[in-house]
Subunit: 362 residues, 4 copies
């Protein structure tokens, strides 16, 4: 994964700024003859779209995706399918409020990429965060929708499992709940607690971090490669590439540090179906960089957005001490919208490794 | 990072199995005219070498590195320097005990890559773990020694900060201590406690996980790129590619999930030296994927090795339920030797991004 | 160069089919702070645009390019500049005649990609050649216009030097002539002969091959790398990637086979300006894969298009013997429009190697 | 193909200088379970080895290859097979004559990479040409021997078809002849003429160029990709990466410039075996970047070596005009040894595309 492209055989290149004409991506390497229409992609985009509750930014965009290339409607059956050529997707930006960005253009928001962009490039589009806007993640979700179709036998689901200090109770985990609350929370009780908690954060003009868990079931055994093309290495890279993510773990993750070899090792038995079976999943579905056939389980931490109403000390482009607070639309917990983004990145990594595996081992 | 190569401009390709003739790597893209001799690399290798205390595997190898290509001794001054051509390094395997591997060859150690290698490739070198042996990390350390010379202005140091449930006291952190105990522990008191603890683990034929922290100081501002060529994304990939690593975090990491935007954002002030200064470092030296000039701080979790003396339930290649225990040399805490490996991976990522940055922004 | 991306640090990914909604490209890795507007790119596109004379296809498109991302207009001076983020360019397709493609959809044009696309992918957009349309080269020209701005000190010019059996007289070479005839021919006399010759080809519904020469002056010494990152290797790949190209040569090229070492070697002398000077340029500006500072000279052969009015024997998708002839718009000599495309590919390769060189050697 | 690595899924990284301790390569991505021993590779290396006739350099090396990693001898059947891990091959340099290279170290041989290496890197190993020595091609041949085993259904053969002004008579082409003369010449009569001609070149201390043709039969239809991942684009890059190559053409190549669309297009008919059949092969087995199933035919031009006995004007490192002539071992026609090298590069490209194709289209 380098620059604005990720993947090796299933490759995605994204482009676009928050307030430019459009954002989008080019998917190169998608196998041919897969039924694919804009509507398929739109469904995933709609899950990520902001402004659906008071807990995400109030920017309102239809986020309508157009397929610019790479599919063909067969006149014989009227079905749109991939052709094996690059699939370009475009989402036009429409809600570009004529806001005054002069403050952000001159001062660096602490915790934001403003400073580093200027330091590296000497130029920066300050409008809406420019390239570093969470808006870019719409492209990831769009690409993920295509990736899912490359590995249709895999079920990828994400959930928010912690908001600030409040973690869910895993005993109450119910995937169906994730569609019933605005947080993708799998635990109905905790979702209620978060609602009150986030109302407080929101009304204070503050923000809070979160932890997301993504689980992929049905991953075939054998995806990945030892050491450097490791499935977990690519998942770590993919998740860490999402805006605001500060940590990634697989399976037992950091908790593995406190485990003994006896406790950590997932014992095996032959299943009644004649297939190998693991008696636990501390490995998170990956051993030696290669999928075991168990669910692939990844968690990542999302820091709170730095666009808050409380003034913070900072400097300006001219090197003067100053203060800044960010008015306008706020995202009290960017971790919420990171859930479908994490699913999408998981889908892209798995699609890529599925094609690699097929290539290398036949 | 893909397959057995990592890096984009500073690229390392490693090869070798535990019990083959040799392990090694090819470093491609190292700038020319850097003074480099085998002795420079050997110093780093010696820090990683096993068998230096009773807390690492008793395999005894001199791990003598040879430079096969890519350097030239100038007859004028007798100094060996890089020429810009590929630097091949080779370490011959000498301590290949004529042990009987037939047990491991047929049964899968729970928590080990045995099962997935067989599932993916249908063939596997069982001797000493083959490609998945921790021995491979010697190549990473060798390449890291070269990488350090590409960014000589950066100081990269690692420490073990947790063994099993026992974490260090950060208030007692002293880098000099890391050279005084066999654990790379920066806290002398905790090192003593670990000694007793690990003696217990070792005599029980058990193993335990650990957490490593690597800090890079002197990193120039501006390394990295937004979103996909993010410095943190590449660090995550690099660390997760190390054997047995299950989690990676940058700066505040997973703790950021519990922080508010006010607490997480690192405020800024102009320093007395006229340079921007951050008042804290929750970002771990990286904002928006680009280095801030503060220390880059990464932590990673290492699971306990699955080679233990307690019998565990497993299956064999023929699909029968069975049990396995691993006799022979044991590594009670592979996290210890992961410290110089983590440093080396950090060095490789920084060298690569330094060259990229120089290329893209001049 | 792989799949639909070319370049390593200056990377271009193209997308689009002849009759889809749009074609375009994403340029990743362009350095920041370069003044760039759509008008800059449009100028190059206009040189390539078909329908400007009776010797190229009569498809009439404005080929209007839009910049979707990667630039920012500084409010201070009103100048649009690159920001270092991906530059997405889009050209909408407008002249998509509602032609009946059912004949081409079912039968394979000999010499065309119809057969291989179907064989590989099992699906193909037959409209206007789909992805294999020469229309795709507009994206290359657009990307090339950006690439030229990365190496503004290099002058890249192309010329058509042979059409069918009729080669130019190199003694009459005058770069200014290339703008005065519809063939980019540097020799006015030969241009006149081609006019009559191509009128005959065109009225016969036939087509003819050609040879293009591209010369880059002002290339700094040192671009490229030995053996595998060779500048000439990348140029060969780039030119051979253009539709219909069947051969590429550098400097003396195939003629070098008949030269002795004495004749081939370009002797050197120190110039009056104190710079090394070559007394000839059989090397075409590249020795050992690295630029010498002399003009980089490349030639490539373009085969005649297979869309002709004479019926040819072929087979259909169902495996029946049949015949085909291609009605509609014809391109009697696709080599003509290949001239600006060759220039653009040269620009992209040089921009990429310039950034690589800056990265690797500082 | 970039720097010292070529290929995308079947990837080869080479290293080594003429007079360093060793040369070699790492092959990453080779599928598992392929029977492979050093003897298999040695056979190909022996065909390339110099000193086998008076027409190639008199450097005498056994060129003994060692497999350092990536294979495993199954104790059950005693067969050595690939394991899917990186295959490292090493050839130690033994004939490093203690020659005085001070002349070459200070002066630039016209037509050689001496000048550009110094200009780019500011340092250069002058001994035996260092990295730019034809010796490096042994690594390509070794990798090619492995590549052939990835596509065992393809027959790859090369021939020398022109030496200086003397081309073979294609009507007399007989593949078996290539093994009977020291030139890999498929035409016995021409081989005799070359013998006399090259004796003259050799005794004059001169050198001469040549043209090599490589043919791959049995290539499955569908390898390659449109436009940028074109099979011909990768072949062009691969051949142009060989030392001293100045031109590459596929099928009709440069001659296509003089062909009409009627003559160039390879007509099709269904064969008696029910498979599509082409009535000619101007395409050289590739249409639209994808293999047609016909033989893939490539030719490349090799310039004469610049190491000759006639003094040539040049400059030295200090910027003084001077003269140079190269004493010692000479290669009157480096094109001869380029034949097995061209075969090897063809094998590597086909192996890579075969794996890619399998990955992308299943």
């Amino acid at each position: 994964m380098s620059f604005n492209t990720y993947g090796h055989l299933f490759r995605v290149t994204t482009f676009g700024e928050s307030h430019g004409p459009a954002i989008g991506c080019v998917i190169d390497g998608c196998p041919p003859r897969i039924a694919l229409s804009a509507a398929d992609i739109q469904a995933d985009l709609d899950r990520r779209r902001p402004g659906q509750s008071r807990f995400t930014t109030q920017r309102r965009e239809p986020d309508t995706v157009r397929i610019l290339s790479g599919t063909y409607v067969d006149p014989a059956d009227g079905i749109e399918r991939t052709t094996g050529t690059p699939i370009a997707l475009m989402i036009e930006n429409v809600d570009q409020r004529s806001k005054d960005y002069s403050d952000i253009a001159l001062k660096y928001r602490p915790g934001h990429a403003d400073f580093t962009y200027d330091a590296k490039y000497g130029i920066r589009d300050p409008r809406g965060g420019g390239r570093s806007s969470a808006r870019e993640t719409a492209c990831r979700v769009a690409a993920g929708a295509v990736a899912r179709k490359v590995v249709p036998f895999v079920t990828i689901r994400g959930a928010l499992i912690q908001v600030g200090p409040h973690a869910i109770d895993r005993a109450r985990w119910d995937w169906e709940e994730t569609a019933k609350n605005p947080f993708f929370c799998p635990d109905a009780e905790t979702a209620q607690r978060w609602e009150a908690y986030l109302d407080g954060i929101r009304s204070a003009g503050s923000s809070i971090g979160a932890i997301v868990e993504v689980v992929a079931e049905g991953v075939p055994v054998g995806l990945g490669a030892p050491l450097y093309g490791k499935l977990d290495s690519d998942i770590a890279s993919a998740m860490m590439s999402i805006n605001a993510v500060k940590g990634v773990e697989i399976g037992a993750g950091f908790a593995a540090a406190a485990l003994t070899g006896e406790d950590n090792a997932d014992e095996m038995r032959m299943g009644r179906d004649g297939a190998p079976q693991f008696l636990s999943n501390n490995a998170g579905g990956i051993l030696g960089g290669i999928s075991t056939g168990q669910p692939v389980v990844v968690r990542f931490a999302v820091k709170p957005t730095s666009s808050i109403l409380t003034p913070r000390r900072t400097i300006d482009r001219d090197g003067n001490d100053t203060e800044i607070l960010t008015k306008g639309r706020h995202d009290p917990c960017v971790g919420i919208r990171a859930v479908p983004v994490g699913e999408a990145m998981m889908a892209a990594v798995l699609a890529d490794h599925y094609l690699r595996h097929r290539g290398q081992t036949g």
